[in-house]
Amino acid sequence: MALALLATIVFLFTLMEFVPGDPALVVLGEGATEENIAAIHKELGLDDPYLVRLGRYLGDLLQGDMGTSYKTRQPIAPAFFSRLPLSMIIAFWGVLVGTILGVLAGIISAVKQYSIFDRVLTVISLFGASAPSFWLAMMFVLIFSVKLGWLPATGSYSFKHWILPVVTIGLQCSASITRMTRSSMLEVIRQDYIRTARAKGQTEIRVIISHALRNAFIPILTQIGSNINGYLGGTVLVESVFAIPGIGNYVLDGVKTMDTPVVLSGIVFICLMCSFVTFFIDMAYAFIDPRIKATYGFGVKKKKKAAVATAKTTEGGEG
């Protein structure tokens, strides 16, 4: 994980080197004089060689210093961490809503394959996957805020404010989860052990939930993880429409104003969070699939003890 992060930082830092534009001109604005441009270059260390600046940035980052914004001349960390919870709320609640909707729809589609339900849900999921999030968001605002006046149009100040952004993300996210659940479930419900479970007289709900869904859940979980990672830093358009000050827009604004420290710190932190999400998703596999659990060595001691006990009993019996 550390190596991946280091590679990301170096790659991004290098990439920002090639972005055309002088940050000093952005900082100084219309009336920039040559004298002031030189002063800003000196202040921001822009005249230093690439390796010196990269080393300085990495050193500061290791000490927990995310740097100072070129534009506002203020530390980045407070501005970044005040936005982070909002992006996390959108990402996690959106994915949660999307997962609930998507898994339910996927199960129905798979169990009732080629039925009218399957076709309707397939159309809806295709629509969800292809409709741009900003369009969905604007439609919701026009209908529920401007036309009906039921919900606030923008902001993030109460439960009501969160409904539209979360539903927008949730609907879009549910599309991919529906398709993944459907295909994964279709594969599983044809297996012999499902037939066996039915033959043993278990109820259909128990067969679907305990036997089929559990075995089909690994690819769904991967999809959920990938959605969380995508939405952590990628809800710029939804943030924009609902005027939610998340990190997506903060980083985007940094790109527009050549505010390299803001862009780097933002993306590095998003990468760090994505690494953690991926790590937890990997861990979660073990709790769903006992075979994976075994490869991690969970419960091995217990099994060994049981095996030893069995062996002793067997030996005793023979003697």
Binding site: V19, A32, T33, R119, P152, A243, P245, Y250
Partner: protein
């Protein structure tokens, strides 16, 4: 199945049409959105002014940023020595008067009894310290370019002398700009320059209570404010909404008292909404086509004139802005010193003239036409629209115009290097005289590269204007400077900018300050 899919798609289409149709008139009974958070409230709170604006300040450092949006926020906390009123007239503010000791030393008398929001006295030392710090820290403020900090002097608590590197008789006008607000030296030193915390101390009508980055700024009345009865509304919640479309949506729901920064294309829809109306104001900003006289083939005046003849400015502006603002009728906006409509008519009054454009191109050695490039900021849809309209217009004259759309930051560098041939850009005469933008076209300024102009006579005339104390005489000099720019076809004025704000019907006292597109919420009241 096909029937079902058709039905579903038809329903979807109907839903979209319902959502897109009208939308302006329907709000809840009390004219607000039914939320329970920071946006609107069901009961009208007369003690809190709710404002939406489109800039996230990031800091509250005076002069940290030269953008109007930034200074619109900061100006509620800090104040200037002079002030342009609703009519664009210069008024004393923190200063009560000034005299010239000589042409480079202005003696300023400060208002007695003014206090900062922490209760300390406002003194001449704060004034000189503000200027000196801004210059030493290279803050983006071109209004201080002429100030010589070493020569400035604090005479007593209420008197100071501002020294200049060169004569500048419009210095009071420059100091009225909201970039030139005065801060507290003591608060800065006591708080180690923390302009998100304790250093945010000014003499303005409001003081900062809290700031949530990218979201909300909360103000409350400065209890020591020197103007009695102001601010008229004691509390102010200023929300940051960066998207013009989202601001327009909020304006239509009439949930906020004042909404700035709504998309201009939505103004009509806002006007149609209940409980809200638009307040318009002309500004000192004019949008120009800048022709780079230092870049071939634009270094040939005939090519520049041919381009000016080939475009239809009125049709271009109409396409981009409709009836909003004014098609340019002079080099600077109405009300700006140095404006002369007659000279504009002389050079640009004929409008589009394709035949003349063709013959000028032929005279310039391009009888078979010419390839040119116009650079515009990609995010500015109106300017992109104008560039594309011109692309079609000039084709008839044999000009093959390529539109180069660039992001803001790379574009600034591209223009500062003088790599462009033509670009669209706006200049603000923020001193309410033409020198407000002429000062940016002087040697040493990065903006000069946009027209690549190297005319010593022009620079000398500008310097003479700066040294002229008599306003009428000065205006004549500015007229001559502007005529030089037209005569050499360096810039073609297109549009005099107008601004609009959505204001609730129960809100009074809102007006746009012309000089730097500011609004002073201390005058705004609710009923």
């Amino acid at each position: 199945m096909k029937k079902f899919v058709s039905l579903f798609l038809a329903l979807l289409m109907a839903l979209s049409l319902v959502a897109c149709g009208g939308g302006g008139g329907d709000t809840t009974d009390d004219g607000s959105t039914p939320d329970d958070g920071g946006s609107a409230s069901t009961g009208e709170d007369l003690d809190t002014l709710k404002v939406i604006q489109g800039f996230d300040p990031g800091t509250f450092e005076p002069g940290n940023n030269d953008e109007q949006g930034y200074n619109r926020i900061v100006r509620q906390i800090y104040e200037t020595l002079f002030f342009f009123d609703e009519n664009g007239e210069l008024q004393p503010w923190l200063a009560t008067g000034y005299t010239w000791d000589d042409d480079t030393h202005m003696r300023v008398t400060l208002r007695e009894g003014v206090k900062f929001s922490d209760g300390t006295d406002f003194t001449a030392e704060d004034v000189i310290w503000t200027f000196t710090r801004a210059i030493e820290d290279a803050l983006p403020n071109s209004h201080y370019n002429m100030i010589d900090p070493a020569g400035c002097e604090v005479v007593d608590d209420l008197t100071c002398v501002i020294a200049l590197k060169y004569p500048c008789s419009t210095l009071p006008n420059h100091l009225a700009n909201s970039q030139c607000v005065i801060a507290s030296k003591a608060a800065y030193e006591a708080n180690d320059g923390d302009y998100l915390g304790g250093a945010v101390v000014g003499t303005g009508p409001y003081k900062l209570v809290s700031y949530t980055p990218g979201d909300m700024i909360i103000f409350e009345a400065n209890e020591y404010y020197w103007r009695e009865g102001e601010p008229k509304v004691p509390n102010m919640e200023m929300r940051v909404v960066l998207s013009g479309e989202s601001s327009a949506t909020e304006a239509k729901t009439a949930a906020y008292d004042v909404v700035l920064g709504a998309n201009t294309r939505e103004f009509e829809g806002i006007e149609a909404a209940d409980g809200v109306h638009m307040e318009y104001g002309m500004t000192a900003n004019t949008v120009y086509i800048l022709l780079n006289t230092a870049k071939a083939p634009m270094d040939n005046v005939k090519v520049r004139e041919a381009f000016a003849r080939a475009i239809n400015a009125a049709a271009t502006v109409q396409l981009a802005y409709g009836d909003f603002g004014e098609v340019a009728t002079a080099m600077v906006s109405p009300g700006i010193g140095g404006r002369n409509e007659e000279t504009f008519q002389k050079y640009y009054g004929t409008g589009q003239d394709i035949e003349t454009a063709k013959s000028l191109l032929a005279e310039a050695g391009h009888p078979d036409g010419i390839d040119l490039e116009i650079t515009v900021e990609a995010n500015d849809t109106q300017r992109c629209d104008m560039a594309e309209a011109m692309q079609a217009q000039v084709l008839e004259a044999g000009i093959n115009l390529t539109v180069n759309k660039m992001e803001s930051a790379p574009m600034r560098e591209y223009l500062a290097r003088g790599d462009h041939q033509i670009c669209i850009y706006g200049f603000t005469s923020n001193t309410m005289e033409a020198d407000g933008f002429l000062s940016q076209l002087q040697p040493g300024s990065s903006a000069l590269a946009r027209i690549g102009y190297d005319n010593q006579e022009f620079f000398d005339l500008y310097t003479e204007g700066c040294a002229t104390e008599d306003t009428a005489a000065r205006d004549q000099i500015w007229e001559q400077c502007l005529e030089m720019l037209m005569e050499d076809y360096t810039m073609i004025p297109l549009w005099h900018k107008e601004l609009g704000a959505a204001v609730k019907d129960n809100v009074e006292g809102f007006w746009w300050a012309k000089d730097y597109e500011q609004c002073y919420f201390q005058f705004v009241s609710k009923s």
